[in-house]
Structures are given as structure tokens and as C-alpha cells.
């Protein structure tokens, strides 16, 4: 079954809750309403014609400059029985994005969703273990969002070399870039 047939099956089943689609050759996808995603996913997996029993990849993308500014969660599905692929997209507001979890449908979604929460701040309602997965547990903020600013310090450590450090390096001074903390003033005393 190619992408168009799958899309037709979905629209025939869910009607207007499949809000959009783009079936060009690249990577065909259908846009699904946020609250219907759990139902659509279960249908995709259970329906014998589709049999999309494998969630290949769950990725979150941040589009601040698109109109309207939104955040998208893309589910790439694959069927081991029919060997065809299809993608579902969910569009969310950028402030407090929340999507129902698909952990029940595909087990792998558990870790993918934790990563999306960790790096993008997308909350998956109903998730059994919504914790950060990659970053330390006490890290504030979600780094992969486009409007992310690197913090100056993390637990007292320099996150980025300070501008004057770069300046002094270019000016020809040798700076101990070792792990120890950098003392700003220059201890080099001219001989009398």
C-alpha cells in the first residue's frame, strides 16, 4: 500500500480529524489532531491492511518562525508485514506543548517521548515515567528549542569560555584551558 492509499484509509476512518497531508515522494505524512493521535495510532497498528506495527522514529521539531509558530511531533511508522512506511504529524503550540502518550501502542515510544520531553519540553500526558533521559536531572530548560540560551554557569562550572578568555587567547596570552577554574587577573608581574 503506498502513501496515498494509507492516507485515504485514514481519512475514510477518521474524517476531519486528519487535518492535513502531503503525499509527495520525499516522506509522505498526514497531520493528525492532537487529541486523536492515540486513536489513530492504535488503528494504524491494529488494522490488518495497514499493520504499521513498528514506530521507527519519534522526532520533535521546533518551528518558531513558521506561521503560526508551532512545535511538531513526527511519528514515522513501518509495517513488518507489508513493508510500507508512513508518517503522522501532530502540531502543538510552543508555550506548553502536550500530547497524549503512545506508550501503550508501541513500547519504544516510552524512551522516545522521554527524550522529546527532555530536549524540547513536550509533555506527554499519561506517560508512565516522565523523567529526563539524557540531561542531568537538575538541568533547567530544554536545549534543542530554537530560542535556547546557554546558561553561564551550571553548578558553579563555566559552561562556555567567557569572551575575555577568547580575547586574551587571541592576544597571544597562553591560557590554561585545563579543567581548573580560570583566574581572570593576570599574575604575570614585570621584573623591576
Amino acid at each position: 500500500m503506498d502513501a496515498a492509499a494509507i492516507h485515504a484509509a485514514l481519512v475514510q476512518r477518521f474524517g476531519e480529524r486528519i487535518t492535513g497531508a502531503s503525499l509527495d515522494a520525499g516522506s509522505p505524512f498526514a497531520i493528525v489532531a492532537t487529541d486523536a493521535i492515540a486513536e489513530v495510532a492504535a488503528f494504524c497498528k491494529v488494522d490488518p491492511a495497514l499493520a504499521l506495527d513498528n514506530l521507527m522514529c519519534l522526532s520533535a521539531v521546533d518551528y518558531p518562525k513558521e506561521t503560526p509558530p508551532r512545535m511538531e511531533v513526527v511519528y514515522h511508522l513501518f509495517s513488518y508485514r507489508h513493508l510500507h512506511t508512513f508518517a503522522l504529524k501532530v502540531q502543538l503550540p510552543r508555550e506548553s506543548p502536550a500530547v497524549p502518550t503512545l506508550e501503550g501502542v508501541w513500547g519504544v515510544a516510552n524512551w522516545h517521548e522521554r527524550e522529546a520531553w527532555d530536549l524540547f519540553g513536550i509533555l506527554f500526558t499519561g506517560h508512565s515515567d516522565m523523567r529526563r533521559i539524557l540531561l542531568p536531572d537538575d538541568w533547567e530548560g530544554h536545549p534543542l528549542r530554537k530560542d535556547w540560551q546557554d546558561p553561564e554557569y551550571y553548578n558553579g562550572l563555566h559552561v562556555k569560555p567567557t569572551p575575555q578568555m577568547m580575547e586574551r587567547a587571541l592576544a597571544g596570552e597562553t591560557i590554561g584551558v585545563g579543567p581548573f577554574d580560570f583566574t581572570p587577573e593576570n599574575k604575570h608581574v614585570e621584573e623591576p
Partner: protein, 390 residues
Amino acid sequence: MSAASPTGFVSDWDQDGLDTDEMVVNMGPQHPATHGVLRVELRTDGEVVRAARPHIGYLHRCFEKHCENVDYPGVMPYADRMDYCAAMGNTLGFALTVEKLCGIEVSPYVQTVRVIMAELQRIASHTIAVGTYTMDIGAFTPFLHLIRDREKILDLFEWTCGARLLYNYNWVGGVSHDLPDGFIRATRDFLREFETVTFPELLDLIIHNRIFVRRLSHVGVCSPELAISYDLTGPNLRGSGIARDLRKDFPYSGYESYDFDVCVGTGQYGPKGSCFERNWVRVVEMRESAKILHQALDRLEKTEKADVHEKVPKRVKPPKGEIYFRSEAPRGQLGYYLVSDGNINPYRVKVKSPCFTAMSVFHHLAKGMLIADVIALIGSLDIVLGEIDR
């Protein structure tokens, strides 16, 4: 006393009144058998593991954030460092993704060179996987024999592109260096030595050894449904008996013209999907890669030499759009979801790493195991923490 389990955050893992005889053991980040920086928190009752919770993220180097600030050729060195045991596999995947988005078609000569390099890297990566696995189970000698043979492959790589582990060899539209003359003969020598001495010795010394078999044959059995639902791919999936290989189903870079068979767990010593089967698939896959290499070398002699930098664009600027492309890396299906908005650095790159999903099934299989089996399970999933944490 190593730190008790971290408290103070949403903890559904019911810690209420840890009854006295259970003990929380931290198989800590620097443990000899966790294949990298992985912390597994085991709740054990004596030797039996009641619940296991893996903690990853110690090796997170924000690959996806780097991709957004560096141009397309610059992403290659970062892609190399994701799965540092199979650098060729990563860069090949990313290069093919970008080429498909830009619509670049590479010459057959370069395609064959890429297949040769990918298959050599598959053998090298599997020697590490099988070697460290036997070392986890306690046999140190097979590991050193396999590492000795991996050195020969690394010499071939170093002779071609100058580096031994992280090559930055696959470029968008071509490869960085052409094969030196005499490379084909040297690879043939290596393959002959590998097939006649290394492979039979490995089978005799350890794979069919009764202690090794009994240690693994009924351990960590993963049913096909669980494997598919947790998106196990590559040798982990084929170990459970599902004969799915991307090089056969969705061939890329000329794989459709080589004949090799997909190695599947045969269940010769116990149920399919056990730790032994996953390891067995990797062992036999090495022989399949050798078969492909022979055919690729014959084909290389026939195709006329094309310039490897011919299709490499001056500045890589793919058109606006998105694409998801999967390639068969030694550890499983490595998927790249690339969103580009038309300028020189990618807008968003999401990597689906096979080891990340392989590790997600860990807590399912680890329930009720002995501690020695937990090590066997981690080894059989063949995880590389660089790829899990990206």
C-alpha cells in the same frame, strides 16, 4: 556505601518501605561490563534481580544541537563520533540521506567503494561486539584474537584515508580519498586469512563451547512481538527469528546487486531470541560480509575508475524539505530524519539510534535474572553508549 537511589523527583518506581532483604545495587557508570558509560540500578533480592532501571546520558554530547550550527560537510566528523565502533556506518547513513534530499546520484565506482568500506567496518564492529561479549562472559583469549584481526582492517582504513577509528570518509556526493593501488590485493589477503583461520577458530574456541552455550542459550529471550514493539533492529531483531535486513528490503548504494543471505537466529541450542542467538547472528553476519566483500572487489576491478570528488558539490545546500532515511548499520537500523530550510546548515537532524531502542527493552528482559545474566544481556544487545546518548 554507594549512594542510595536518587530521591526527590517524580518517582513512580515504588520505593515505599524497601523491604529489608532487597538491596539496590548500582552497576555504576564506570563498570567493566557496561560497554561504556551506562548506570544500571538493580534492585536485587540476593542474586536475583527484581527490577532494573538503566540510566543513560553520561555521554550526551548534543549531536543534534551541533548539527544545527555547522554546515553539512562539518556534520560528518560529529556523525563519526556517534557510534565510534562503526564510524563508516554513521557517515554513510547521513551522506545517503543528504544525497537523497539533494537528488545527487553517485557513480557506481564510488557506490562499490562505499559498500566495501561499509562491509569492512561491519566486520570490524562485529569483532568488537563478539570479542567484548566473550570477555564479559569470562574468556579473554578470543577477544584478543579478534582484536588482532580487527587491527588488519584498521590498517586498510588507515592506508586509505589516514585515520584508524573516526575516518570522515563518506562525504555528501562521494568519498574523501580514492582507494590506493594494491588495496584490493591486501583486502583479499585479509579475507582469505579471516575465512580460513579466524572464523573457524572463533567458532571452535568459544561459540560452540558448552559453558558459553549454557551461559547464554536460555537467557534474555525476547519474543518477536516484543522485539518489534520495542523497535529492536539489526542483529537483535534477526536473533529473534525475523529475517528483516534493510540491505535486502530497501537496498541502497548498490546492495541489490550482491547476493548474500540474511542470517537469522536458528535456535540451535535453545529458544530463538536468546542472548546466544543474537550473538550467533553477529558471528555469521561476519561471514556474510566477507562474501559481499569478495563480490564487491570483483566488481571494483571491472568498473572503470571514476574521480571520487566528481559529484561532491562546492557548497552543499539541499532544497527546503524533510526526509527520513534508514541504513543498515552494524548495530541495527540507523535512521536520520533531516529537515532542511534551504541554507547551508541543517534545520533539524534527528537520529534514531539502534542501540537507544535496544536499551529501551532492557528493563523488560532483566526482570528475574541473575546478575551474571544481566551482564550477558547487556553484552548481547551490543550497545555503544556514544550512540545511545548522541
